[in-house]
Each structure stands twice: as structure tokens, then as C-alpha cells.
Symmetry: C2
Subunit: 194 residues, 2 copies
């Protein structure tokens, strides 16, 4: 029997947060912004999930936190990574992955069963996705490049890190390029063969 195979997805958000906090102490709110701006394209999470995970990490001793009083804003809780947290992150980062990350793409699910739909419905779907993915591609080529440049200008000590940030950005660029090419090809095939 094909085994239900082991995934390591279960704990990734934990390491996204530890990773963010390895640069500097941040609040839950700031971590949500970090996720939205930096990791969203390969790992995302809802606000509620972030706060819950932070709680958990503090209980595990991987983080500490303190309340910061603010005049012009609501008070907030600032999280710091502990040495234990840093060690745990380091260990996870160095772990060899013996599988590829599983993909979930509901467009492909829809398409797989789309012989039940009429041609125009399918084409409309594909053309909309084409525009969305084209937009995503231009994000990788422009906005994200700019964001990385900004970050390294503000914190020159993270220049080593910027190479890795750009590597993940480049993954997005290449994969989205392929995706858009696939959409173009698919639209043509459906127009011609269906």
C-alpha cells in the first residue's frame, strides 16, 4: 500500500516567526506585516494563527516577551528570540529535506475535471488567471526587488541575507514565468482542440 507520507509542513509557521525574530525583536502585528511582505509567496498565515503560535513558542521557551507602553498607539507585546529559540531555528534550517514540498493548486483541480464545462467558461477562467499571474510576475520583477534593496540599505549588516532573499524572489520569478507560459499554451490548446 502506498503510505501516507510524512510532511514537515506542520511546524513551518513556527520557523517563519523564529526566523523573523532572529533579525530583531518584533510584535505580533509587525510579524504579520513581515509575513505579508516577505514570506507570503511561499508561506502565509492569518493574524489569529500568528498570535496563537507566538503564545505557544513563548510557552516552549523559544521566545520571551515584554509589554511596551506607547503614547500614541495601543500598548503592544514585543517578542524576543531566546538562545534556545535560535538553536532550534538553526537545527530546523539545517535539516535535510528528503521530499519535495507538496503543491496545492485548486485551479489545476478545476481544470482536471473541466471537460464537463463549455469552452468559453474554461477560457474565461484561464484568461483571468493569466492576468493575475502576470501581475504576480511583475511583483517579483519590480516591487520585491525594490523591497530587498530597501532592506539592505537600511540594514547593511544583512547583506549576506539579501542573497538568500533574492534567491527566493528569483524562484517566484522563474516559476511564475513558467506558469504564465503554461497558461498561454493552454489557452491556445483549448481554443484549437476543444
Amino acid at each position: 500500500m502506498l503510505q501516507d507520507c510524512a510532511r514537515d509542513n506542520s511546524v513551518v509557521l513556527k520557523y517563519v516567526l523564529l526566523g523573523g525574530l532572529s533579525y530583531q525583536p518584533l510584535t505580533g502585528y509587525q510579524l504579520k506585516q513581515f509575513v505579508d511582505s516577505s514570506t507570503r509567496h511561499f508561506w502565509f498565515a492569518q493574524t489569529s494563527q500568528i498570535y496563537r503560535t507566538l503564545d505557544m513558542l513563548e510557552k516552549e521557551g523559544l521566545l520571551t516577551s515584554e509589554i511596551q507602553e506607547q503614547d500614541t498607539r495601543p500598548d503592544r507585546r514585543l517578542y524576543h528570540i531566546t538562545p534556545t529559540g535560535r538553536a532550534d531555528l538553526q537545527t530546523w534550517l539545517a535539516e535535510l529535506m528528503i521530499e519535495i514540498s507538496p503543491a496545492k493548486d485548486s485551479l489545476l483541480v478545476r481544470l482536471f475535471f473541466s471537460a464537463q464545462l463549455d469552452k468559453e467558461t474554461v477560457l474565461t477562467q484561464l484568461r483571468l488567471q493569466r492576468s493575475l499571474h502576470q501581475r504576480q510576475l511583475s511583483l517579483y520583477r519590480n516591487e520585491i526587488v525594490a523591497l530587498i534593496n530597501e532592506s539592505t540599505q537600511q540594514r547593511p549588516e544583512l547583506k549576506r541575507d539579501a542573497l538568500f532573499w533574492d534567491v527566493t524572489r528569483r524562484n517566484g520569478e522563474l516559476v511564475e514565468e513558467a506558469y504564465v507560459r503554461w497558461l498561454d499554451e493552454t489557452i491556445q490548446r483549448i481554443e484549437a482542440e476543444y
Copy 2:
């Protein structure tokens, strides 16, 4: 504030199962095999999740089931899609997606924070992933092509469907090609710049 955006992922497995059952009645066990062989590359699920979802779909009236007695094998429960189920599937398939499917790739998470690792650890990780993705690519180019051919030979009435199956296969091929190219490029960059 950036909104926590709506995903439609929550119910996709439901439609994978309805989709499989739209071809023919199947048991939970066979649906697990269907998922493993046909949709795994864009949607997967554990056995336990499949059986529980089938329960739910039957309660919702989208499926019916009957026990099949077998001599040489344990009895089994065969699921049939109902007209309501077919209509529900149809509606979902035709729904316009106004977002792109979010990605989750823990390799990219690791890489993003990998400035904390030494060069050789990173390169070992990348080289292993390279071999895994190369294997995956050859799956799309060979085994899956063969699987689709087999299916259409056995059921010539599904020839229209085969176009869509092949379109999803081709997505895997193009995306994996890009991924392998990215890994090659990244390995070179790390070797040279890090």
C-alpha cells in the same frame, strides 16, 4: 491594513472526490488510489481525511453508497455521485477564481533564513532537492504521459477529458523545469557569491 484574504482551499478535497466519482462509482480505497495517481501533484489527502469527507458528502446528499459483498476480499462501500452532487460539482468547477492559489514551500522558507548556515549545508540541501525535482520532472514526462494514454485506451469515451488531464500534467512539467533551472542557478550563485 492588509486584509486576511479569503481562500477557497477549504473545500477542494470535496470536489476532488466528487470529480473522481463523476467518472464512475468508487470505494474510499479506490479514491485514495485515484488521488495518489492522478491529483497528488496538485491536491493530496490522507486516507483518513478521504473517508471522513466521503461521510460528510453522503450526509449532505451529494453521494449515496451501498455495501458490496466480496468473496476474496473484505466487503467494501461503493460510492455513487447523486444528481445534486453532479450539480454542485458543476457549479464549483465553473466558479471564477479571483485570486491565485497560495503556495507553501518549506524549502524556500529554509532558504530565506539560510544566511545563518554554512555554505556546504546549504549546497547539500540544494543538490538533494535538485535530484528530487529532476525525478519529479521525469515523472511528468514519462510515467504520467503513459498513465493518461492507458486511461484513454481503456475508456475511449473519456477522450475529451484527456485533454484536460494532459493540460494539468503539462503544468507540472513546465513548473518543474523552471524549478530545476532555478535550483541549478541557485547552486551556482551560492558557490560563487557566498
